[in-house]
Amino acid sequence: MVCESWKAKLDTYLDGEVPEKEMRTFDAHVRNCPSCSADALTRVQMKRAIQVAGKRFTPSAEFRKRMQQSMAPKRQRSFRLGWMLAAAAVVILAVGTFTSSYLGTRSGRDQVFSEIADLHVATLASSSPVDVISTDRHTVKPWFQGKIPFAFNLPELQNSEFSLLGGRMTYLEQTPGAHLVYDVRKHHISVFVFQERSLPARLDENSLSPKKLPFNMETWSQGGLRYFVIGDASAADIDSLAKLFKVAL
C-alpha cells in the first residue's frame, strides 16, 4: 500500500520529530488521506491518554517539605557560619601553602636525585661513557673550559684507591654541568658538578640521598657549586671520594 511508508513514520510525525520540510508534506498527506488521518487520530488519542494516565503520582506534602528543608538549612548555616568558615579557610590556606611548599620542595629534591641516578646509569650503560678519556686531572679539567659556565677543581688521587676514567658534559633540567667517572675496585662512581643557583630544586646543605635510591650517594654545596657523588660502591668509598673533592684546591 502506498500509505505504508507514511504510516511507518506516523509516530515520528506526531511526536513532532519529522524534519520541517517533510512535516509540510506529511500535513498535506494526512489531511487528504482518510486512512492515515484516522490512524493519526487514534494515535493522538493514545498519546493524550498516556499523558493523562502518566501524571499519576504526586509527592506528599510531607516529602515536599522535607526536601525543601534539606536545602534551606544550607543557606542559613552558610550565613551563620560565614565568619567561622572564613577563619577556617585562612587556616587551611596557610597550612595548605606550607604543606604544598614543603611537598613541592621535597618532590623537587627527590626528582633531582632520581635524575642524577638516571644520568649515572645511562652513562655506565653507554658504549662511550666519557668524552674525555684520561686519568690525568690536568687533562680532564681543561677539557671542560668553555663547555660549562664555571670552573671546579679535581682532587689529587695519589695514595688513594680511586682512579679517574674521564669526563663528559651533562645536563640536569637543562642546566649544564660536569660529569666525572671514577673507578674504585671495579666499581664506577659518578661525580656531578653543577652551579647551585641553576638547579631547579633547592637542596639542603649536605642533604642526604633518599633511601629509595638503589645507589649510595652524597651531595653537598661548596663555593656556589653543587656536588653529587653516586655509585654502587660502598658508602665509605662514596664518602672518601666526596672528602677528596671537598679538600681539592
Binding site: D39, Q45, M46, F57, M67
Partner: protein, 197 residues
Amino acid sequence: MFYYVDVSGADLQSDSFEELAMPLFDQLYNFAHWLTQNREEAEDLVQETYAKALKGFSSFQLGTNFRAWMYRILRNTFLTSRTGLKATMTVPLEPEEDGPELAVERDTPETILFERANRELLQSAIDELPVYFREILLLCEVEEMSYQEISETLSVPIGTVMSRLSRARKTLRDRLRPQVQAGAGTAAMAKGTNHGL
C-alpha cells in the same frame, strides 16, 4: 516544554541549583514512582538524585540540558538500586534497530479505551510494561521530551530511541487489547447487545 539551561560559571552555586532543580521536583517524583512502583522507594530515589545532582553540580556541563541531566541521574540511580536491578533482569529480545511499527488497525484498543475513558486500565498496562518500555514511553508522552533529550537521558542513540519507543507503543497496545476486549464483552453482555471489537 524544553528546558535548555545555559548556566554561567558564576551561577553554579547551591542557590542556583535549587532554582533549577526544584521546579522539576513533581515530575521527577512522578517518574521515580513509575519506575519503582513504590512510594517510599520513589521518595528515596528522588532524595538520592537531588543529593547526587547537588554534589555533582559543578561538573554539570554548561549549555547542556539540565532536565535531561537530572533525569539521567535519577534513572542511573534507579538502575543501580535493588529494585532497578531486579526490574532490568529482563532485557529486550528484539533488535533495537527495528524500524517503526506500521499502521494500527481499525477498532483499536486506543479508540475503545477512549470511549470508556478507562484511565486505570491504561495505568495498569503501563505499570506492567518492562521498565525499558515504561521509562521511554513516559519520557516521551508525559514529560514531552524530544528524541534528543530522551537520547541524552537514556544514553542511547536517537535511532534506538525511535525503535524502542515504537516497540513500547506496540507492546502497550497489544497488552491493552485483551483487557479492552474483555471489558467490552462484559459491557455488551450487560447491555444485552453484542458489538464485536
